[in-house]
Amino acid sequence: MLPYDAEALFALYTSYLHQLWLFVLPLLILILSMPVWILRGGAAVGRIVVGVLALVWLWVGLVFHGLYFTDLNFAAPIYAGLFVLQGLLLFWHSGSHGRLVFAYRRDVVGWIGGFLLLYALIGYPLLDYLDGYTSGMRLVGLSAGPTALLTVALLLHTVKPAPLHLFVIPALWAFIAGFSGWVLGLWADLIMPLAVVALVPALSWKHRLHAVTGHKAV
């Protein structure tokens, strides 16, 4: 069902990370600092966070899908297009048009977002490692699945509900990744569709809560 197997996929990731190591470390530092910035809160931080998210979506789309994954998968250009589109949407929201303000929530929505954040940062590469892929583990900001999860996780931690259209492509990717994970036998990807299933009630709760209370994060 897929034109490649897991061995070829992780060989590609290994090569991708090795060849671009100069960019890997700064990108990782940037991404790992975002949860810390969110603690500070504020509109300016919000624009920076969304801007960084936009950058990583563009990176994964243009570099990983556009330059590397096309070697293995004829669908890679389509994936590149989706990721670039999401990157552009996020860039638009990082400007003055979007006013996403982040703050940690201590409700159900926050817990779901927190779990997804931890899974994106730690769970994904850990499960790849435990699956035996010790050199091409998929890292947030550099590979598609963890990046999509990180985005969803952070967007759940906004003061006002984030626009629903920002969740569409991450949700779509969750099903693509889930399917690929099922075909290739990769545990790390199997959580992706479940994340979408959890997302629906989380977003619904958040929207209702905001409509009723104009709720701010506690």
Binding site: A11, N73, F74
Partner: protein
Amino acid sequence: MYNHLVKLFIGGDMSEDSSEKTPGLNRRHFLSLCAAAVVSKAVGIVPAKAADARHTRPIPQSGEQIPVIGMGSYVTFNVGQDARLLTGRTAVLRAFFEAGGGMIDSSPMYGSSEAVLGHCLRQLGHPATLFSATKVWTWLSGAGDGQMKESRGLWELPRFDLMQVHNLLSWEDHLATIRRDRDTGLVRYIGVTTSHGRRHEELAAVMQSEPLDFVQLTYNIVDREVEERLLPLAVDKGIAVIVNRPFQRGDLIERLAPHPLPAWAEDLECRTWAQFLLKFIVSHPAVTCAIPATSRVDHMHENMAVRQGPLPNAAMRRKMIDYVRAL
């Protein structure tokens, strides 16, 4: 009397006088062959013609013989540029050619498989027995030319032995392009493909209406739909048949693995389920070549061993079907 029989069946001279012997058999050998023929029919096998014979089949349009076991490259050769994996695939291909392999099938749809094949063939010095088969796979009629040219570059070949329209995609336009390529010597044979049992109606229509040298389709001991119509049609039309998905991408072997081979599989010189399944496929008179894919040298040896030894006859094939169905 014996001499007459030998000349009828084998063409040698049965005389026991060595000075009169033409290349052929002596009486003892002839009698043992007769006995073997009787026993073979009883147990349901078609013996190989000689002890070291390896099975080939003719391409109906030309009579050119090709080995009945070829190699597919879907997934297995799509390994990108990883040096370790490239070395591994070169070893697989080496084993293929050392066992007398011929047809290798690929497609632009298979990611880096064509590039990897090109790399491996270069490492092996472009073996002379290669029968190169690839496909054109694009919706855009005008893009077929460029894609086929790119494939020649990736394989590092001046021409292909066989060019096929992958899954009948825009077949009308691509067949015209391939015919032009054949006229200019860029292609020797023309074909179309389907897989997974899809688009059989359309395939039958194309086989009826277009002069084809090859068709490629799915056929194995559980996916036997093509026996009803497409395989007889191929025989009628003089079209060679390539069989894909002989193991359903490994699923069939996985399902059968917990079960023992029947004791009579030994009569077919089958030691593994893969050999059992391949012998079933290539014993069908309409099948020219099966193209199992593998990334392992040991599995390649296993597959290529099917080219030797007896093949099941119709009665034995029935027995094989019944055995698998009962599992």
